[in-house]
Every structure is written in structure tokens, then in C-alpha cells.
């Protein structure tokens, strides 16, 4: 029997879960494979968050501050989960650190917050040439530049005159097997489009899309301002090929509204890459015997009313380990998972 909760993953979902468990007065062990907290937004160098443009590190710092230096939280950085046994109320979990050293921890409940990885555009059904052309970049590459408040052509360091986003890269594709929508890329691309227009007021920015996924307030917080204040050009029609011509990139698509093929030169093309389950999500799911869906994300049998219970009693999930999620989803799931984990642990304790 253990009255602690194990949180695996120190990104936004994991940080919120750990904080919530601690605030409820329960012991929490927070395991993170990197040597710092922050997860993918930190590792990938995200500049600002959607939709409020809050600088990423500021938001993460607030979350980090609430879990470090407090008696309820045991922090295990640079560690991964490699083995597990037991059941709800009494899990025994083996951790391994970077040097290969192993140790065991006990927990009554587990929260998987192991997140996602970005889609590798080299596998894309369309011909985007990510591994051929330096000026074809991903949303992640763009975030790194934007966090330094610059935006340039990687090939020559010059400011671009035309920038295009291509949506749904690695998502909504039966041929790839990633049939789902990655939910956040439309919002992130629009956010980045606005940031680019702020830095380069003379640049023309385009977004080529199939559908614009602007849920709830994103419609008026991001989409309408992008068009109305920043004059970002949204073109309905997706791109199939990127080649090089005259020192610039040439993209071939269809302008479906006008019903004709289009070919336009661009200086930088940003691929809106989607989400796939991270290697850690796959590993940890395997270790605990947590069923995964056909895409490799954690299966959540009780959706939509129970968004956090997995197929293994006592193991909960928060964030993008369960599929494409935005930050609101992730922190909401973290709270729900924390409550369920703590109640389980307390019920076992009382029995």
C-alpha cells in the first residue's frame, strides 16, 4: 500500500498534475527524463503560447515554481520509468537514471503525462523536401527563431519577403495512418503568422489550409485578428510539392476557391506538423500494460465524460499522451487525473 502518487512527465500536464496532488496534501513523485522541467514547450523552444501570446518560459516558470522546494513533492529529474508491477493502491515502479542506476519507488496511483512528439515531415505523403531545402522548416523551427525575436531564411540569413504555412502536415492522412486532426496547428500557425507580421511588417504571409480549426474563442482571438489586423492571407487549398526555382522555393497547390492550380514562389515555407505519441508514451504504456489506440496514443475508454482513466485501474493519463490536446485540455485533464488519483489513494488508505 502506498499513499503517494507517481506523475510521469514534467511538461505542462505533469506539472499541473503534480501541483494539484501536492495542494491536496498528498505525496507526489514527479519523474522527468530530461534534466529540467517544462516538457515539449521547453525542449522545442516554443516562443509564445496560443492564444494569448504569453512568453512560454514565463508560463512554465510559474508552473515550475509551484512544484519545486515543497515537502509534498519528490523530484526525480533525468530519470525514466523502465519497469512496473503491482496494482491500483500498490504499484512498484523501477526508475533508471542517465548513468544506468536503478531505484524503485512505490505509488498508489500513477498519472501518465508523457506527451507527444512532433511529426517528422520526411515521412509526409506530399513532397515537401524538408530534408532537401533549408528554407522549408517546421512550426518548431519557427518557434526557435521567434523566441529570439528574429525570423530569417535559414539558407542565407536574410529576411523573407513571402512566407507560407502549409497546414495538416502529418495529420488527417489515411496513407500515413495519422487519420486524426492534431487540433492545435491551425491556431499555432495563425499565432506565428501574427508574430512574423509583427517582426517583418513588409512580409506577405500566407496560410494554405484544408479547414481552419478555430475552436471557441480562438476564432475571434486569433483568426479574425490575423486576417483583419495583420492581413495574413488564408488560401483554401493545400500544397502537394515544393521545389526550388531561381533561388527561391516554388510551391504547387490548388486554390480551390478559384478552382485552379496555383504555383507561387516563397522564401520560407513552414510545415504545420502534427502530433504523434512520444517514445516515452509508448514505453510507459507498455511498462504498465496500458492499452494504446491504433495510433499509439493512450486509449481512454470512458471518453468523453471520463477523459483521464486508462484501461489499467490506478493509472491515469493527462495531456497529449492520450492524443492531440491543447494546453487547456492538458491542464484540465491534469486536474481531473489528480483528483481521481488522490481519491483512490485515500480510499485505499482508509480501507
Amino acid at each position: 500500500m502506498s499513499d503517494a502518487v507517481l506523475v510521469i512527465g514534467g511538461g505542462p500536464a505533469g506539472l499541473e498534475a503534480a501541483r494539484s496532488v501536492a495542494d491536496l496534501g498528498t505525496q507526489v513523485i514527479l519523474v522527468e527524463k530530461r534534466n529540467r522541467l517544462g516538457g515539449t514547450p521547453d525542449e522545442a523552444g516554443y516562443a509564445a503560447l496560443t492564444p494569448n501570446f504569453e512568453p512560454t518560459q514565463e508560463a512554465l516558470d510559474r508552473m515550475r515554481a509551484r512544484v519545486v522546494d515543497r515537502p509534498e513533492v519528490t523530484l526525480r529529474l533525468g530519470s525514466s520509468v523502465v519497469e512496473a508491477s503491482g496494482e491500483a493502491g500498490a504499484f512498484e515502479v523501477t526508475l533508471e537514471d542517465a548513468g544506468g542506476g536503478r531505484s524503485t519507488v512505490e505509488a498508489g496511483a500513477v498519472i501518465m503525462a508523457t506527451g507527444f512528439q512532433h511529426f517528422d515531415p520526411g515521412r509526409e505523403t506530399q513532397m515537401y523536401g524538408y530534408y532537401e531545402f533549408p528554407d522549408v522548416i517546421t512550426l518548431v523551427d519557427a518557434e526557435k527563431m521567434l523566441s529570439e525575436h528574429h525570423f530569417v531564411r535559414p539558407s542565407n540569413g536574410e529576411e523573407p519577403k513571402s512566407v507560407a504555412f502549409i497546414q495538416c502536415v502529418g495529420s488527417r492522412d489515411r496513407r500515413l495512418g495519422n487519420e486524426y486532426c492534431s487540433k492545435v496547428c491551425c491556431g499555432i500557425s495563425s499565432k506565428q503568422a501574427i508574430e512574423i507580421r509583427r517582426i517583418l511588417p513588409d512580409a506577405r504571409v500566407y496560410i494554405f489550409y484544408i479547414d481552419m480549426r478555430m475552436y471557441g474563442y480562438w476564432e475571434n482571438q486569433i483568426y479574425w485578428p490575423a486576417q483583419e489586423e495583420y492581413h495574413v492571407n488564408y488560401v483554401r487549398g493545400i500544397v502537394t510539392e515544393i521545389v526550388e526555382k531561381g533561388g527561391r522555393l516554388l510551391m504547387k497547390g490548388e486554390d480551390t476557391t478559384m478552382g485552379r492550380p496555383l504555383e507561387v514562389p516563397m522564401d520560407v515555407i513552414i510545415l504545420a506538423v502534427g502530433m504523434e505519441p512520444s517514445q516515452e508514451t509508448r514505453n510507459v504504456a507498455s511498462v504498465f500494460g496500458v492499452p494504446q489506440n491504433k495510433y499509439g496514443f493512450v486509449h481512454v475508454p470512458g471518453e468523453p465524460m471520463d477523459a483521464v482513466s486508462t484501461g489499467v485501474a490506478g493509472v491515469f493519463v493527462a495531456g497529449a499522451a492520450a492524443g492531440p490536446k491543447d494546453l487547456e485540455d492538458s491542464v484540465s485533464m491534469a486536474g481531473a487525473a489528480a483528483v481521481k488519483a488522490v481519491s483512490l489513494v485515500r480510499r485505499q488508505g482508509a480501507a
Binding site: 517528422d120 513532397m127 530534408y131 522548416i137 529570439e148 528574429h150 526550388e244
Partner: protein
């Protein structure tokens, strides 16, 4: 250059993670059907070379003991193409079968006119595969369309039991075994697998020759996962055949912005609606190649593509378009590099485009070679011999004087 550390291509390639193929492997299904007693799988003979396809799967390319599934357009109109393939095989000392019991895949007609149906197309394919199996030689497909079409037929037969039953009944009636090969292999995949063998036997210096490559739609767009991709060629982002061979032979491969475009063959269009074909070939392919890459030669690996790109340039010149680049298959190019006779073997006189400046650049004395060819032709006309033999083909005045 900005001081910002940005991931560029090499770094990206180094960071790249391997990934699992997203689609089913049709070959597994082919073997399952054999285990269920549905057909015989014609195994790839040894020795074979392993190559990688689009999602990193391994494909087996056999070396010898092959059944040459010939191409109508090649054998009919550009016979130097087929002859060069045979010549390459002979020069590597490989035994092969050149069958008389082979029909056309009939796909050119099918894509042109639809005066056929999926059962007929599948029966034609499997009849050919059955004939190959009976000869104990593994089929090597010469034409890009035959290859793409047969990949499609394989999918249809695997997924539709009714179609399979229909075709099996026909094979039984014809007395042919019901066979599906383990791999469907295009000759350009064999050329890719053998490219270093060709380079080792190369006698010409091609370092001054610039090449543009045109990939056949039916090779890499029909059933996309079954086409050769090589991480060393185009970062594994485009199909590697032809380009890999040209590079192995030391030529410079120049890129152009309509690389992915179709040549405009159109199947029906090139025969009865040629304005489309010649316009497309000229405006989307040849002119772009000339303007952006200025190649000495255009290389491709399919019958229809060679025909289209080669034949469309005449009328384009009459309209003063910027054309005038020789076109040939990579098989002919490799053969030339290894010292094959441009007229007796590569039969370049059947091509429409002017290839003599290219031959000069490659260090070939075309005047002498043409004289040799004309001499052979006069012997044929005078009845001194019936046909040109393989020995005749390799005999040149220079070789003779060198005592070879």
C-alpha cells in the same frame, strides 16, 4: 549569415528518427494467400541485392536468370532501349530469357481507351507471370507503365477474392500455373542495383556531362510505397533510380523545378490528341530543363517518357521554342558509358532528338560509329547476312585495329 543556430538540412538528417511504415506490406498478404493454397509465389532467385523502398522496407532485386517482360513502345519504336538492357545483362555475364510467349501488359491501351476491364488486365498479367514461372526465369519488367499497372493488379487480386477466382479459372483453362511473383521488379531497379558494376566497367569520362532526370509517374506514383528510395539520393525524399546511376557514372545531375511533373504522355493523347502531349512536354518539362539546368541529355526510365520527351521537340522547334536536348533511357546511357556502340547497340538513329553533340562530349567518334553501322546495313541489304549478331554489335573499327 545570422548567428542564430538553425537546423538546416544536414543537421536535420542527423537528428532524423527511424519510423515504422504506415501501410500494409502487400507481400505479406501475397504469401498468406500462398499458404492458403490460392496461388504459387514465384520466389526471387539468388543472388539478389537488397534495396530500400519509400518507407524503409527491403526489396529484393535479383541479378540473373531473368525473364525479360518487354515493352511495346521500346521494342516497336525505340528498340535501342530494349537492346541496351540486354547488352548490359550480357556484359555482366548474366544468363537470361527473351521470351516469345510474352504478351504486352496491354496497359497502354487500357489507360488510353478503357477498352478492357480489370479481369482482362489481371488475366493478361498473370498469364505472363505464369509463362515466366514455367520457364524458371524471374520476370523483369521493362516498361514503367507495365510495372505500375502490375503493382495495381497485385493489389486488386489480393483484396478481391472474386477477381482472383475468375482469373484462376482462366489460367486453368489456358493450362498456365496461377503465379504471383514475390516482388514486381522494374528494369531500372536492376540497373540501380548494378550501378557500381557498370561504373567499374566504364570506359568513358562523363564528368563534363550534365544530366536532368525525369522520373516516370507510373514508376513512383502508382502504389507509392513500392519504389526505390535511398537516403543518399535527394535525402530519401524522391525516388532514387536513374539519378543514382547517373551519379555512379560520374555525370552531374542538375535539378529543375518541374521534376515531379508528368511528361504528358497521356496514353491516348500521344496517339490521337497530340497537342496536349507536345505542349505539356515542351512547356512543363523540356523548356524548364533547358532554362534552369541546361542539360546535355535528359535521362528517364520509361518507354512513354522517352517517346514523349524525344518526339515532342520537333514541332516545338518549328514554333521556335527553347528545346533541343537529346533524350534517352539510363540503360542506353550506361551502355554508352561502358563502350556500347551508339548505333548498333543503343540504336540512337531511331530517336528524334539530335544526340551527336552529346556523343562528342562523351568522347564518342559518332562519324566512325555511323560509318560502321552503315556498313553493316549494306551487308544486310546485299543479303550477305540476315541479322546483326551480338558479336557484330561489339565489333568496332577502333577495337579491330586495337586487336580486340
Amino acid at each position: 549569415m545570422s548567428g542564430i543556430p538553425l537546423p538546416i538540412v544536414q543537421e536535420r538528417l542527423e537528428r532524423r528518427r527511424p519510423a515504422e511504415p504506415p501501410t500494409e506490406d502487400i507481400r505479406e498478404k501475397v504469401f498468406e494467400l500462398e499458404a492458403a493454397g490460392e496461388w504459387i509465389v514465384h520466389r526471387v532467385p539468388e543472388p539478389y541485392t537488397e534495396v530500400t523502398t519509400k518507407y524503409g522496407r527491403i526489396k529484393k532485386i535479383p541479378h540473373e536468370g531473368l525473364w525479360h517482360h518487354k515493352s511495346c513502345g521500346q521494342c516497336g519504336h525505340i528498340p535501342g532501349y530494349s537492346t541496351s538492357i540486354f547488352w548490359l545483362m550480357r556484359h555482366l555475364g548474366f544468363e537470361y530469357e527473351d521470351p516469345k510467349d510474352q504478351t504486352s501488359c496491354t496497359a497502354w491501351n487500357y489507360y488510353a481507351s478503357a477498352t478492357s476491364n480489370s479481369a482482362a488486365q489481371a488475366a493478361v498479367a498473370l498469364r505472363n507471370f505464369g509463362a515466366a514461372y514455367q520457364s524458371e526465369h524471374f520476370p523483369l519488367i521493362h516498361c514503367g507503365t507495365s510495372y505500375g499497372h502490375y503493382k495495381d493488379v497485385r493489389e486488386e487480386l489480393v483484396h478481391h477474392a472474386e477477381l482472383r477466382a475468375k482469373v484462376r479459372k482462366i489460367m486453368d483453362h489456358l493450362g498456365r500455373p496461377f503465379v504471383m511473383p514475390e516482388e514486381i521488379v522494374h528494369y531500372s531497379e536492376w540497373v540501380y542495383a548494378m550501378r557500381n558494376e557498370f561504373a567499374a566497367r566504364q570506359v568513358l569520362d562523363l564528368s563534363e556531362v550534365t544530366v536532368t532526370v525525369h522520373p516516370a509517374c507510373h514508376y513512383h506514383k502508382l502504389i507509392v510505397e513500392d519504389a526505390i528510395y535511398d537516403p543518399d539520393i535527394y535525402g530519401g525524399q524522391r525516388t532514387a533510380v536513374v539519378t543514382a546511376v547517373a551519379k555512379a557514372l560520374g555525370a552531374t545531375v542538375a535539378d529543375y523545378s518541374t521534376w515531379f511533373d508528368c511528361c504528358g504522355f497521356g496514353f491516348r493523347h500521344i496517339l490521337v490528341q497530340r497537342d496536349f502531349t507536345r505542349s505539356f512536354a515542351t512547356q512543363r518539362k523540356i523548356e524548364v530543363m533547358v532554362e534552369e539546368a541546361n542539360p546535355d541529355v535528359v535521362l528517364t526510365h520509361d518507354t512513354g517518357c522517352v517517346t514523349t520527351l524525344d518526339q515532342s521537340q520537333f514541332s516545338a522547334r518549328a514554333h521556335e521554342r527553347k528545346v533541343g536536348v537529346p533524350v534517352m533511357s539510363e540503360a542506353q546511357f550506361a551502355a554508352l558509358a561502358m563502350g556500347a556502340h551508339p548505333y548498333k547497340v543503343c540504336q540512337l538513329h531511331w530517336h528524334n532528338t539530335e544526340s551527336r553533340p552529346l556523343l562528342e562530349k562523351m568522347g564518342i567518334d559518332w562519324k566512325e560509329r555511323w560509318a560502321e553501322f552503315e556498313e553493316e546495313v549494306s551487308m544486310l541489304e546485299a543479303g550477305e547476312k540476315d541479322f546483326l549478331t551480338w558479336d557484330d554489335a561489339d565489333r568496332t573499327a577502333t577495337a579491330a585495329s586495337a586487336g580486340v
